[in-house]
């Protein structure tokens, strides 16, 4: 059993890392651990959790900015924001239910460390786009900061954003500062039934090409759609394609009408009101389409133009259920459990389509063997190694989690 360390201050974390460094002891870095099952299993004698680095340190609703210590639960952040009519615009996913953990636990630091963004990313940008500052401790046991609390800042290199998506392998974030946004007055969703994947992506791309600021576009194949429990969609047996508009009430009514009119060739959609919309997009955020099971889950990022064809190619090798988000640019692939998690076929198909793939859910034995993150081109791998050395020369932090030899 690994020793669990819970620093409650930057200096405490610094001194823990300094000690581990002296003894050359690698350490696993976690927040609440909800995404611990993503990546290669980390071999380390100790675990550092940011769970005791808690609390909202700054919130200025009139500046749309918040700072929170890294271990603050997202649920706490969102409750505080909601009390002032605001939200996290990039709608981070909750991997908990998909990875056999409870929902609502993940920490705000981990959201940025993994660049975790949900459906609204298509319109407003990713978690990374909203991050404006960090404090952290690197693998050299140095406390550093980057960015700040103002929205526009090009002073020096953008180290803060450079750390997003590094999965705790470069530094341990202790505080994050990010942009927030007002909650919309109203939300409406229009849902089309029974569209095949290529037509659904065509529809979603068309919707994104309108001036109506569609803030969510998702398509679920029949088996995934069947897992949605929000009325009136519960019990659906065909595929579902959903478009969301959010704004003030008059605008939502207008834009919804214009969208239905523009897209009438694709059929008459079911309309979800505010409550049903919140229910449906909440389910997408909690990944209700892929609840914990033995099935393998992949996340593929590609061009919307190539997504349907990519999945069609894969179906020649394996049964695939898919949920397409970001108008087809993000594909969640669910396939039956198998020895290599389908990696060879999936990586080949992604190489042809362009983009990258990450193994999100598989047994530990499989994750030990398969490259979980997209293998890198040699020139990029060299830079990645250099970046790792620049932040963590002894290789203390989450060794091997992203890339086995790094």
């Amino acid at each position: 059993m690994s020793e669990i360390l819970k620093p409650a201050a930057d200096w405490e974390l610094k001194s823990i890392l300094a000690q581990l460094g002296e003894q050359n002891l690698p350490v696993e870095i976690v927040g609440a651990g909800t995404k611990r099952a993503i990546g290669h299993p980390v071999m380390a004698a100790a675990v550092i959790t940011t769970a005791s680095l808690r609390g909202i340190s700054l919130y200025e609703p009139t500046e749309l900015v918040m700072s929170a210590r890294a271990g603050t639960p997202v649920s706490q952040v969102e409750a505080e924001l909601a009390s002032r009519g605001q939200m996290l615009p990039f709608e981070p996913l909750d991997y908990g239910p998909a990875l056999a953990s409870r929902p609502g636990l993940q920490t705000i630091g981990a959201v940025f460390a993994t660049n975790n963004s949900g459906s609204r990313r298509i319109t407003v940008g990713s978690a990374r786009d909203h991050l404006i500052g960090v404090r952290g401790v690197n693998g050299r046991a140095e406390i550093f900061k980057s960015g700040g609390r103002v929205m526009k800042n090009v002073t020096g290199y953008d180290v803060a954003r450079g750390l997003t998506g590094s999965w705790g392998t470069l530094a341990v974030l202790t505080e994050v500062t990010f942009k927030v946004a007002p909650l919309p007055d109203d939300v409406a969703t229009i849902v089309y039934s029974g569209l095949p994947e290529d037509l659904a992506i065509e529809l979603m791309s068309l919707a994104m090409g309108t001036p109506y600021e569609v803030s969510g576009t998702v398509h679920l194949t029949p088996a995934h759609a069947a897992r949605i429990a929000t009325p009136p969609l519960a019990g659906e047996t065909t595929s579902l394609t959903a478009l969301r508009v959010e704004n003030f009430m008059k605008s939502v009514r207008y834009r919804k009408g214009r969208l239905i009119e523009t897209l009438k060739a694709y059929g008459q959609p079911v309309e979800l009101d505010l409550e049903a919309s919140l229910g449906f997009w909440g389910e997408i955020r909690r990944m209700a389409f892929a609840p914990a099971s033995d099935a393998i889950l992949w996340r593929v990022s590609t061009s919307p133009r190539k997504a349907a064809e990519l999945v069609a190619t894969l179906r020649r090798h394996m049964p695939v259920e898919a949920t397409y988000d970001w108008s087809g640019g993000l594909v969640w692939l669910e396939i039956p459990d198998c020895a290599d998690a389908g990696a060879a076929d999936i990586r080949r198909a992604v190489a042809i389509a362009g983009g990258h793939s990450t193994l999100i859910r598989a047994r530990e034995a499989v994750r030990r063997e398969v490259e979980v993150f997209q293998p890198q081109a040699p020139a990029i791998e060299k830079l990645s190694r250099g970046l790792k050395r620049a932040f963590d020369p002894r290789g203390l932090l989450n060794p091997g989690r992203m890339y086995q030899t790094m």
Binding site: E60, T62, E63, L64, V65, G85, S117, R121, G125, S126, R128, N138, I143, F144, K145, S146, G148, R149, V150, M151, K152, N153, V154, T155, G156, Y157, D158, V159, R161, G162, T164, G165, P182, L183, S205, G209, T210, P211, F248, K250, Y254, S301, T302, S303, P304, R305, G329, G354, G355, F373, Q376, A377, A379, I380, L383, G386, L387, R389, A390, M402
Partner: protein, 490 residues
């Protein structure tokens, strides 16, 4: 003005100038190399005109491969490089050095691919910012970041500086709108990062490259996000008798749950100059003017502007005018976007670029006014209020060296003030040479060392744009130069 130290040129490089030019011609072609005095002089400065240095030579390649060949040569021979877009940097980011070769990307300005379904454009980075929007405009799309210099500035420069613009309150800055790059590294190798998809894999190198001021590599191609144009947009003008009232109005608008596409702020000196220049209908009897713009259909715009007008009324505006038509809207924006140029016709000026938390606006504007008074200089303020990015223009007479020096000192005091108020040295112009020596006001030595290790990772010997961004002292010693024989043309 000469208070910013620039390193002495390496005599060993200057001595080899003739041979180096010959080699560059052999590599890039005679048409791509500028070596004569008149030709080089056009490149001796950028929009931070107080500093001038004649470059060793200028190369204007037409292909990525040619850029790679030149960088590879300079790397092997220990010759410094200064990358250049259109030379519109306000902080000396493109200032040459006597012992450095300027590589300009201006001849690489083609649109390579436009995809309105997947919503991206792939372009060569010598293209001007506005030309991207012009290329995708007929299909109803646009490229969002809109720096005031967008008619002239290149995407390469925007990437180097992570440029913003008036509309970034809603649409973000360059780093939020670039999906992928093709970049030439200092050793002449070519890397591709990101692509058409929305999130690049692995470590976020795009975040490090964008805003690195040309110190990590030369980006020759980029894939940028393009967005569908709104149905319409219309600004309103709200004038106030004090900056305090204007700043309360900005806070109320944002707190109300509306994020307009732009909230611009001008003080009286800026209003007067811009109105004289653009005849935009700005009120002349107010101390502060807000330009607030919203987007949407006619009905949506009318609804939102009425709502904002209601909020503004509670603060007690001196004047409130909603733009009547597209022609007036264009004039209103013309006035704002030509502010720097218009003030430049009246006096020389230094344009500051600090960002502050909005809650500090009134205090900081008062202090700026006090600082400039102390140095006996005039100041005009015109800036992006929605995001707290200030642009005090300190006016002085460039022919009076004492005034020029005082202007620089006033600028430094203003930037220290911005940092002390919880903000930063530069919101969108970059550090360049201008703010290089102030970096320790904002960063600790550990913070700077962390950034400089990234510089060394991409450019071990610090040959790319080396005199910029980081204070000259406290830099890592460049890795010792291997005794490689110079590649001669003969």
């Amino acid at each position: 003005m000469s208070s910013i130290a620039l390193p002495d040129p390496e005599l060993s490089v200057l001595d080899r100038r003739e041979a180096i030019v010959k080699d560059l011609v052999a590599i890039a072609g005679v048409g791509a190399v500028i070596a004569d005095d008149d030709g080089r002089r056009a490149y001796e400065t950028d929009a931070f005109t107080a500093y001038k240095r004649m470059p060793l030579a200028v190369v204007l390649p037409e292909t990525t491969e040619s850029v790679a060949a030149v960088l590879g040569y300079c790397h092997a021979n220990g010759i410094k490089i200064v990358p250049r877009g259109a030379g519109t940097s306000l902080c000396g980011g493109a200032l040459p050095a006597e012992d450095a070769v300027v590589i300009g990307v201006s001849r690489m300005n083609k649109v390579l691919e436009v995809d309105t379904v997947a919503r991206f454009a792939r372009v060569q980075t010598g293209i001007t910012n506005l030309a991207i929007s012009a290329a995708v405009g007929p299909s109803g799309f646009f490229y969002a970041p809109d720096p005031s210099s967008q008619l002239a500035c290149t995407l390469a420069g925007n990437i180097a500086m992570n440029s913003g613009g008036a509309h970034c309150l809603k649409y973000g800055v360059t780093t939020n709108n670039v999906l992928g790059v093709k970049m030439v590294m200092m050793d002449g190798s070519i890397v591709e990062i990101g692509g058409e998809h929305l999130d690049a894999e692995g470590y976020d190198f795009l975040a490090l490259i964008i805003g690195s001021e040309g110190q990590l590599g030369i980006v020759t191609e980029a894939t940028v996000r393009i967005l569908r144009q709104a149905e319409g947009a219309r600004p309103m003008l709200i004038g106030f008798e004090s900056t305090a009232k204007a700043s309360i109005c900005v806070s109320r608008i944002i707190a109300s749950g509306i994020v307009p596409v732009a909230i611009e702020f001008m003080d009286r000196p800026a209003i007067e100059v811009c109105e004289a220049f653009a005849k935009a209908g700005y009120p002349l009897d107010v101390e502060a003017l807000l330009i607030v713009e919203v987007e949407g259909s006619e009905e949506e715009i009318a609804d939102r502007l009425a709502y904002i007008a209601g909020l503004a009324q509670e603060v007690g505006p001196s004047s409130l005018v909603i733009s009547a038509d597209d022609a007036q809207s264009a004039k209103i924006w013309k006035g704002r976007k030509s502010a720097f140029g218009a003030i430049g016709r009246k006096a020389d000026y230094l344009c500051m670029d600090g960002t502050i938390p909005l809650s500090q606006l009134t205090y900081v504007l008062e202090e700026i006014s006090n600082i400039c008074k102390r140095y006996g200089l005039g100041v005009a303020n015109v800036f992006h209020a929605g995001d707290g990015n200030l642009h005090p223009l300190i006016m002085y007479d460039a022919n009076d060296p004492r005034q020029a020096e005082r202007a620089e000192q006033a600028g430094a005091d203003i930037l220290r003030l911005c940092v002390a108020a919880g903000g930063c040295l530069t919101g969108e112009h970059g550090v360049g040479i201008e703010k290089r020596d102030l970096m320790r006001v904002q960063f600790s030595d550990i913070d700077l060392a962390q950034q400089m290790r990234i510089k060394s990772l991409f450019d071990e010997r610090w040959l790319l744009n080396p005199a910029k961004v980081f204070p000259l002292d406290g830099r890592p010693l460049p890795a010792s130069r291997p005794a490689e024989p110079a590649i001669a043309a003969e």
